[in-house]
Amino acid sequence: MSDVPYMPQMPATSDHVGATVEHEKAGLLGWVATVDHKRIGILYLLTSLVFFGAGGIEALLMRIQLARPNNSFLSPGAYNQIFTMHGTTMIFLVAMPALTGMANYLVPLMIGAKDVAFPRLNAFSFWLLAFGGLFLYFSFIAGGAPAAGWFSYAPLSEQPYSSTTGVDYYAIGLFVLGMGSIAAAINLIVTIAGFRAVGLTIRRLPLFVWMVMVTQVLILLALPALNASLSMLLIDRLMNGHFFVTDSGGSALLWQHFFWAFGHPEVYIVVLPAFGMISEVIPVFSRKVIYGYEFVAASTVAIAVLSFLVWAHHMFAVGLGHSIDVVFAVGSMLIAVPTGVKIFNWIATMWGGSIRFTTSMLFATGFLVMFTIGGLSGISFAAFPIDWQVTDTYYLVAHLHYVLFGGTVFAIFAGVYYWFPKISGRMLSERLGKIHFWLMLVGFNMTFMVQHFMGLIGMPRRVFTYPDLPGWAALNMTSTIGAVIMGIAVAIFLWNLIVSFVTGEPAGNNPWDAWTLEWSTTSPPPAHNFDLLPPIRSRRPLWDLAHPEDPDWKHGH
């Protein structure tokens, strides 16, 4: 293979790709009509940010209501709508769009492609998200938001017990979002499978792309299960069906099996791409190649396979019998093994490095410990007699937030600080970033660490208020104060985004001295992404370019 730079390989079908990127319109219409993966990626990220604001305000309202026992700030009806919308929003309108947006923006750049495989389908996926999200939120002014929980357990979600249109908005809204996710998954899979630059073999793919790829397979297999069950729920509600209506012979447990057949893979759908971002950030700021690349990639596949075999661990308390509990406990415990492999490989990457603690790296380091806490409390649920006590209590609320906030959201923050310079051409303020990180770390632990103890002393989740039992008031007040601190941290983050977008230091092509392809082009990249690509003979083409004396490919990587 020669060392002469060459153009990215374009597939035979790429004519329309080239045509579209050259005809980008200016102004607002340019954004509405865009089929450029970078613009669509930014639209995803902004949509996620807007709904993060909505979901965050919902969380603060809940914490205000729960600050004191027997509080009457919110009525039970309002509280139940708000906690339902908080969960639904954070999963479907924040975590998924943020990760899909990151993937949309970065995957073509990381694999040296001009765009995704199907740019128009890509735009369609985004607009399904935007309108699905608006549709869901429209329920607030159309007679009440859904109030049956994000999991919408039957028969509570059925007509006799949820007689407003909230659950219908929930079902149709999520159905639309699900279609968008499935279309985006197909697009990304085809892009990664078929649009990689010459030399970028599967074994040389950046780990973020690897994990996005695995995640899209999960989406493709899991989301149809959700959409099918939502259709059945709608048939029950609007056409007097009987799938989940127990009074007329339906099964309440059937919904739970269907929902968690989607719901558990969903956890990994919003965690694996976060793992991918961590796997990019830690090596670059440790100045070392990722430790155990094959093991980090293979453990992702292991997690993906196992994620389809553990759904009933959400149902240990429904009375499925000991033998079923045991089977699902084994699968759930096994997931800890590949997850642990990742944690140890990330730490090994830092070991012996020369670590630059930028805000991005701080969030990645925080992620390592916060996610470990969530993972370990997860094992206590797999030891299911413990689940029989603590499921559906605040102990579980604490667990899931350590996984999804301490894990996913911390990783997204690490990713935003890392890639914002590429996307905007400007650096985020490190000073504001560090305030953001430390406030977030303190606020997050203050909010959720104490919730473990609330659960252990008997506080159930999804309650709009609670009696003044010993210790409950103090723990809840602590949690609420922590939530306010988190709110301030998010406000600083937003301020940082705005200020740095306008006045941030110019980033240049490669401000972090990173090694993957997206850093070889300008910041922001041109519409067609690359004029020239470096030769790709290893996982770190830019390392090879900068270190001709010791390129990775000489080590066989």
Binding site: P76, A147, Y153, P155, Y161, D247, S251, A252, S286, R287, V289, Y291, G292, Y293, E294, F295, A317, V318, G319, H322, V326, A329, M333, A336, G340, V341, I347, W351, G352, S354, I355, R356, F357, T365, L368, V369, T372, I373, L376, I379, S380, A383, F384, P385, I386, W388, Q389, T391, D392, T393, I457, G458, P460, T465, Y466, P467, L469, P470, D552, H555
Partner: protein, 312 residues
């Protein structure tokens, strides 16, 4: 009634779970400590000093990968064995044809308890004889609920169309506080459980008393007027009062409401003032509950309260 339902003080069926939690907790804490120490160590030890010397590039070592794969597997095997042990101890099996001693039916948003042999019917407060293991059938009248009294052991969902079974035993007398632990709609928060464990004689005395029907009321008294109102406002469509023609099954049996500790499933203490408050505007006390506001006058509230207070 305001007793701390902490998992840390526990009864015979809850103990194996507490022990398992302690064991798993110690293992988890040790792993967390290891990871935290490692992260802090590398963070301080390998922090860049600003001089950009590229560190040695290490691509990985299979022996280490095997170590941190096999190590966790061994720990999990150990936890799994402890899990199986705790499962058997905390949730003992039962014969296929085992008849329940107690049937508990969950409703939006209160609990009904039927003692099969004696025929006693209670609501929200469940009395148990200390040291006797009762076999419970758990049902739901509407949506999914969950029986959870932390100090007495595992929680179990009450699923409509899918009866569940569990054992219930308290090994010392006292009041055990619990709650519905599956989201069941508007008033999920006020679906609390009280379990009152007492010595066998006290329990038998309570059960005997529960089977008694109310005595005749002196005519012309407030209570007698209240009984009239109870009929007039069709309260009996939803509520049962033993020894009368009121046989409703929607709401709690009121035959002995005066002897209960709380009203509206733990919402507040059972005092005449609270009862009057509840009758005056149930939707203010427990919004969206199925008890309607009958727009009673103050006199009517007084008379109804007087009547219900006689139902000791």
């Amino acid at each position: 009634m305001q007793t701390d339902p902490s998992l840390l003080r526990d009864s015979v069926l809850a103990q194996p779970i507490s022990h398992l939690f302690l064991l798993v907790g110690i293992v988890m804490a040790a792993i967390l400590l290891l990871v935290t120490v490692l992260v802090l160590y590398v963070s301080f030890r390998y922090r860049s000093d600003g001089v950009s010397v590229m560190p040695q590039q290490e691509f990985g070592r299979t022996s280490l990968e095997i170590l941190w794969t096999v190590g966790p597997v061994l720990i999990l095997v150990f936890i799994f064995a402890a899990t199986i042990h705790a499962m058997k101890e905390s949730d003992p099996g039962f014969a296929a044809n085992q008849q329940p001693d107690l049937v508990i039916v969950a409703h939006q948003w209160w609990w009904e308890a039927r003692y099969v042999k004696s025929g006693v019917i209670a609501a929200n407060e469940i009395h148990l004889p200390v040291g006797k293991r009762l076999f419970v059938r758990l049902e739901s009248a509407d949506v999914i609920h969950d029986w959870w009294v932390p100090q007495l052991g595992r929680k179990m969902d009450a699923v409509p169309g899918h009866p569940n079974f569990l054992w219930l035993e308290a090994d010392s007398p006292g009041f055990y506080s619990g709650t519905c632990a599956e989201y069941c709609g508007a008033e999920h928060a006020w679906m609390r459980i009280g379990v009152i464990a007492e010595g066998e004689p006290t329990f038998e005395h309570w059960a005997q008393h529960q089977l008694e029907v109310p005595s005749q009321l002196p005519t012309g008294s407030d209570a007698a007027q209240g009984a009239q109102l109870f009929q007039q406002f069709t309260c009996g469509n939803c509520h049962t009062i033993g020894g009368t023609s009121f046989r409703g099954k929607i709401g709690p049996d009121l035959t002995h409401i005066g002897s209960r500790l709380t009203l509206a499933a733990g919402r507040f203490q059972n005092t005449p003032a609270n009862l009057a408050h509840w009758l005056t505007d149930p939707q203010a006390v427990k919004p969206d509950s199925h008890m309607p506001n009958f727009q009673l006058s103050d006199a009517q509230v007084r008379q109804l309260t007087a009547y219900l207070e006689t139902l000791q």
